[in-house]
Structures are given as C-alpha cells and as structure tokens.
Symmetry: C2
Subunit: 198 residues, 2 copies
C-alpha cells in the first residue's frame, strides 16, 4: 500500500492553506482591529490550530503585516486616476478610491488599515504611506505642484465617506448604491483639487 496514487485532498499544505489563514486573519483584523483579534480566533475561523499561524508567519505581528499588504496595482490605480484631464479628476479619484473599499478583494485590507491605523503605530505609518506616499512618489507630482493641500483634503474626504459607509454605517451613506455615492461625493472632491495652495 501507499505506493498507489494518492487521492483526495493532499495531506500536507496544498499550497493555499497559507492563503486561507491570511483570509481568515483579514476578516478578523478588519472587524476587530489588531488588539481585538486573537491568534486563536483566526485559527478557529481558518479551521487550523493556533500553532500553525506562528509556524507560517512567525508571530502575530508578522501575520498582521502580511494581511495589510494591498494587492499590486491598488495604489497605482489611485495615481492613474489623477493623470487624466483635470476637469474630471475628482470623479475618477472618487471612483477609484471608493471602489477600493467596495471591492471584495481589497475591501477587507482597507478596513484593516483603517481600524488598526488608529490603534497600532505600525499601521498608522503604513496608512500615511498609502494615503499620501503613493501619490507623492508618482509622476503626477508636477500636475499637483501647488495643490498638495487640496489633494490631502480630497483624500480626507474620501476617507471620511468610506469610514461613514463601511465602518460606522451612517444611515444615508451605508445603503446608497455606489454610483449615486460617487456622483454625490465627486463634486466636493473636484472642488478641492481645483483649489491651489495659499
């Protein structure tokens, strides 16, 4: 026996157990924050033993860092939104930013970032980077030379809307459909992007 071909699910790591743990971790972190989630609750949700998490990610911090990583292109998406015609910058930035929160693939990470940025020093730094750094380091720098404050205000607005919709669940924002949300938010964002510093 045991020389025959193996059947069913591979015994050992079939390669995506790691991914399953990550997914479970994201769900926990995104709803309860860093301190609020325990290794056990993650392991439980993923259907593995606690010890396995340490085995894969070293410790809680390592696992947390892994969950915070945004998919390739998420940041790029924001910078590209700014690259087009200035008249519709606001609408494009609004749409791309808010869709990061809407999308099932990136939404949890945004929530993790948001929730833990407020109770975890490392996450705060990371958020600041995603927030501004992604754009500051790009080739739209010229385009925004005298509009940094406006850009900061624009993104602050989008952050606030995302918080209100996805985290605090403010009545009129939580239920509205995505397109009307974009339509209502974009003009204010555009206004900020149109305003030069001092």
């Amino acid at each position: 026996m045991s020389t025959g071909k193996r059947t069913g699910r591979p015994a050992g790591g079939d390669g995506n157990n790691r991914a399953r743990i990550l997914e479970a971790a994201r769900e926990e972190f995104s709803t309860k924050g860093f301190r609020g989630t325990t290794m056990r609750s993650i392991a439980n949700r993923a259907g593995f033993d606690v010890a396995l998490l340490s085995h894969y990610f070293g410790n809680k911090n390592g696992l947390f860092a892994a969950t915070m990583e945004l998919p390739e292109g998420a940041q790029k998406m924001l910078t590209e939104a700014l690259a087009g015609p200035t008249a519709t910058q606001g609408e494009r930035l609004t749409r791309s930013y808010l869709s990061l929160w809407e999308d099932a693939a990136t939404g949890p990470q945004m929530q993790i970032l948001a929730r833990s940025a407020l109770s975890n020093e490392a996450a705060t730094k990371h958020m600041r980077a995603v927030f501004i750094g992604a754009i500051a380091g790009s080739d739209v720098t010229d385009l925004l030379a005298d509009r940094w404050t406006g850009l900061a205000l624009a993104i602050s607005h989008l952050l606030g809307v995302a918080f209100a919709r996805h985290l605090i669940h403010i009545p009129h924002l939580a239920e509205s459909d995505f397109e009307t949300l974009v339509a209502r938010t974009a003009p204010a964002v555009q206004l900020h992007l149109d305003t030069a510093d001092d």
Copy 2:
C-alpha cells in the same frame, strides 16, 4: 494624637481623584483604543492602584463609558451651527465640528470616540448617535428635510479631515493652522449642504 487638626492633603478622596483617574483614562484610551489600554496603564498614569479603578467605576467597561461622555453642549453646538443663515451653514458647521477636536477639553473624547468606534461595538453605536442623532433629533429637522444625504456627506468630510489631522497626521493638514483649515474645508461642506436629495 490624632485628635489634632489634620494637615496637608486630605487622606481620603479629596473629591477630584475620580477626575484624575478619568483624565488618565482618556489619555490612554484616546491614544491606544479600548483593547489597547490596560487598567494597569491607566492606574499607573493616574498614580493610583489598579484596584481603585474598579472601586470607582465597577469595571473596565464602566470606566470606558465614563470617558466617552461629551461635555454638555458639545452636541448642541453642532445643531446650533446649522440653525443660522443657509449661506454660511458650511462655515459654521465646519468651525464648530473641527473645534471639538481642537479644544483641549473635548479633543480627547473625540479621539476616544474615533479610535474605539472602530474596535468596540458600544463605541460604534455611540458614535453613530453623536454623528447623526444629535442633529436628527433637533429642531433643524425642517431645515434639512431634503438634505440628509448632503448632511451625512458634510459630516463625513469633517470626520475625514479630523482623522487626517489628529489621528493619522497627514502632512499638509496636521500642521496647518486652524483658520486656514476651516477656510479650505468649509466650501466643500457648504457644497454638500446645498445639494438636495435626488
């Protein structure tokens, strides 16, 4: 002995030890969130023993609830800001809301609310209440009959700006002085308040 008049600081609670504990608790909660702060760290900061906190506030939740309470008139201030002439509603709302964060007396509570609203169910409810309820229940209801979405967006914006300035410390917003911040933010807020639903 011991019949003479007592001197120096009264042995027992001189009445404001409770207040000192509350203040220490606010500082801890406002920087580390609910789960992130320990009874011990609060006691330490206040210069008392841990056991005293339970003695005064029952348990951690009781202490937390006590720290969340906003001073009288804080909510009233927001509703009053909306009551005046519509043309300058945006500026008044912006100024009063952001000053809640700026003020040394109310700032910590706002930070507590914000930080813990994202990792504590009770705090989320409380924040939703402060956020909307305070206004919804007031006598400006008529004034805003068809502008609830706009109001929600306006406050979301202010929330985002406050987060960016006080919590995440985004460059151009964290350092700017209060008046310019108000001047730059208010137009977008006004825009939202001017927009009727559908």
